[in-house]
Symmetry: C3
Subunit: 309 residues, 3 copies
Amino acid sequence: MSNTPSTTKALRASPGFRLARSTPSLWRVTFDNPPINLIDPVMIVALHDLLTEIEKDNRVAAVVFDSADPDFFLAHYDIAADQSPFDALPMAPTAFHHWANFLIGLSKSPAVTITALRGRARGAGSEFALATDIRFASRERAVLGQFEVGFAAVPGGGPSTRLPGIVGRGRAFEILVSGEDFDGERAERYGYVNRAVPDAEFAGFVNAFAERVSRFDLHALADIKRFVNAASLPADAALTAEMDAFAEAVDRPATPSIIGQALKQGFQQRSDVELNLGAYVGKVVHKAGQRLRRPARPDTDPNLRSACS
Amino acid sequence: MSNTPSTTKALRASPGFRLARSTPSLWRVTFDNPPINLIDPVMIVALHDLLTEIEKDNRVAAVVFDSADPDFFLAHYDIAADQSPFDALPMAPTAFHHWANFLIGLSKSPAVTITALRGRARGAGSEFALATDIRFASRERAVLGQFEVGFAAVPGGGPSTRLPGIVGRGRAFEILVSGEDFDGERAERYGYVNRAVPDAEFAGFVNAFAERVSRFDLHALADIKRFVNAASLPADAALTAEMDAFAEAVDRPATPSIIGQALKQGFQQRSDVELNLGAYVGKVVHKAGQRLRRPARPDTDPNLRSACS
Amino acid sequence: MSNTPSTTKALRASPGFRLARSTPSLWRVTFDNPPINLIDPVMIVALHDLLTEIEKDNRVAAVVFDSADPDFFLAHYDIAADQSPFDALPMAPTAFHHWANFLIGLSKSPAVTITALRGRARGAGSEFALATDIRFASRERAVLGQFEVGFAAVPGGGPSTRLPGIVGRGRAFEILVSGEDFDGERAERYGYVNRAVPDAEFAGFVNAFAERVSRFDLHALADIKRFVNAASLPADAALTAEMDAFAEAVDRPATPSIIGQALKQGFQQRSDVELNLGAYVGKVVHKAGQRLRRPARPDTDPNLRSACS
């Protein structure tokens, strides 16, 4: 992907989000990475730092994540970005694994993490939401989806492992194999989000909830998180196995070809393609007609064996 | 059961369903086994063959299962059928285990499997739907249920093991211990099906969904299925233990007695009993009043010990 | 807590509930422990005895738990009660563990257990409902919640471990870290209860359901319960670890201080505080402003290590 145009600069001053310490116990992270809040290496390195700050702080009880852009919460991973910022992080199997490692750490953070979802959260954006503890959605403005299958790739940041415990096995399959967009109302019905709140009431609802939680005892909150995680947090190895498979997918010919075509049509820009990515995915792949033959005996393919061990 | 009248013929030409390869990547299986789409040994042997075909084919991405009968998707297991067709399959502990083995294989099939549910799917019919990846239901015409408890038997094809991960523990208990019918609307609310779609839009919705999925990359779909299964597919041993217990139940006196009475009243025929089996179950068992005494110390009963090990 | 006024008498004649054997196969337990159905040691000892009775009886198929008080199903644990009645039970790590042990036994009872929820079930009352197999709620009158976080404590009776398998991980977090009240309608939407039934139809619905189940074969019901438990019942050790953490929480200064203040304002009485405990919790902790500093390195704190091993 080194030849595709980059939409970020490695040494960009802004990490792509603003951190506000509303009170010592309530922090707010507002994503603001124009044009569409792509998740890029600069942001990911800064998110790793944020986790370290939360871990070191002994007063923060709750962290709310929201967006400065009412149309995009986090669009998805920036597939065209310069990856050199990752040099600041410990070595990982691939650049993509820095994202998986962040998500694994996010779910284990001692603070209660709350996604305040207005706008689109697809691909890695949806993975981010799924790795936080609680997801509230604007009924009218929220859109969630895992579009990766439409780019000939399994998602890498854990949704195949996490979704069955959040929406049940059948709805997990539907979300993942369709690559479709899910609006706030259906996301609530499926449990993809905790609840969909009318947009006019959304900010007030989220703020009241987060402020309430942030006043509670830190030890009690940490205990709750410890027990809920013990009961329901997937193993790290299951999550990294997904990223291994994603990295293999983008090394096959189909994905770069689809990405190349999509970039020409507005992918990664404030465009109809990004506004309606679920619909786009249902069309472009059909036209491209790229189909790989599956190995005849999956059990002899090391790629297919690795995750279940 | 060798003395009860059989509704199937061992060497019947039709397997009880039609297979249409709509495209190389999208197959459609339409159940058509009059009078009420009972699941019988001929059909089960053919379904084993279907799994082998899917496995050998390297292009099929999605398989839709629907019914030619708008009142019955799959009524339930044909308790009166000749079992000699099973001779074509590898040995199994009991004839019933051929069904359990098929369901285990169905969930592991590399293709995405979609139940398009119009009409009734009770007992083994519901077990079939639960073993596919995705369940869509006609809001007005779908009926699901596990009526076996009303026939003094635990269900055998896995629902006690699968339902908690699909509808949650409390609703799994309700479905299983009541033996009641669940309509499309409630099935959606419980997550028993992914969604209930108005019947007028149902075929169009399912077709568009399946066609969309069938155009996606086979490797990506197989990876998704692999990871969702790793996170949420029950162990084979848990599923076969249920069938062991079902086989024991039908060897006790209560079940054959209830079956005998039900057959006289229209069970296995296109009758009020079959149309309203949930209601029937709530009445006939009451009248029969057959009650077995539970072993006073369950932990010394080898039947009760086997599954938890 | 030995200096706080007790609302129960150690040798009170009533166990706090009435047992009616409606039929040999259907028992009904009606909580009646004025003023607000607190769960106290006398009741807990009697509930242990009830489990033994169910275990010894070989005819009871279903047990319904309801309340004589339309405003309170089970308010919560009686934090001020004399604990000497527990001397009748086998030794336990703390007095609180007699409650955890009862809940563990309740879920393993061979009978199908049904909560008929009218009025409030918070804290240990909610834990009781979660430990039964099936929860039906009056749409207008039911209120559920785990308010303990507002008293600076993790809940002790298992909800952090049980809720992810009942409502999903995200909604489990919301319930536990907010300490809020959940009404019947939202409880149904989240799966916290199986269904919310209009209050006018509630008694009729529950009775018909329980009578239906109670007529079914005991062996079949026990098999169903065995398999659903094998698939979804949390390990005993996970549940007792929660109670260990709760016992530690009430030994820290914050909880007794909050309890003391609450008792003065109507806690444990038929008062606005108890009627609207979710709202109270959101205010009193804020005013008290009691905050403990979390250990800087949680992994070196033995309290935080114990549960995950």
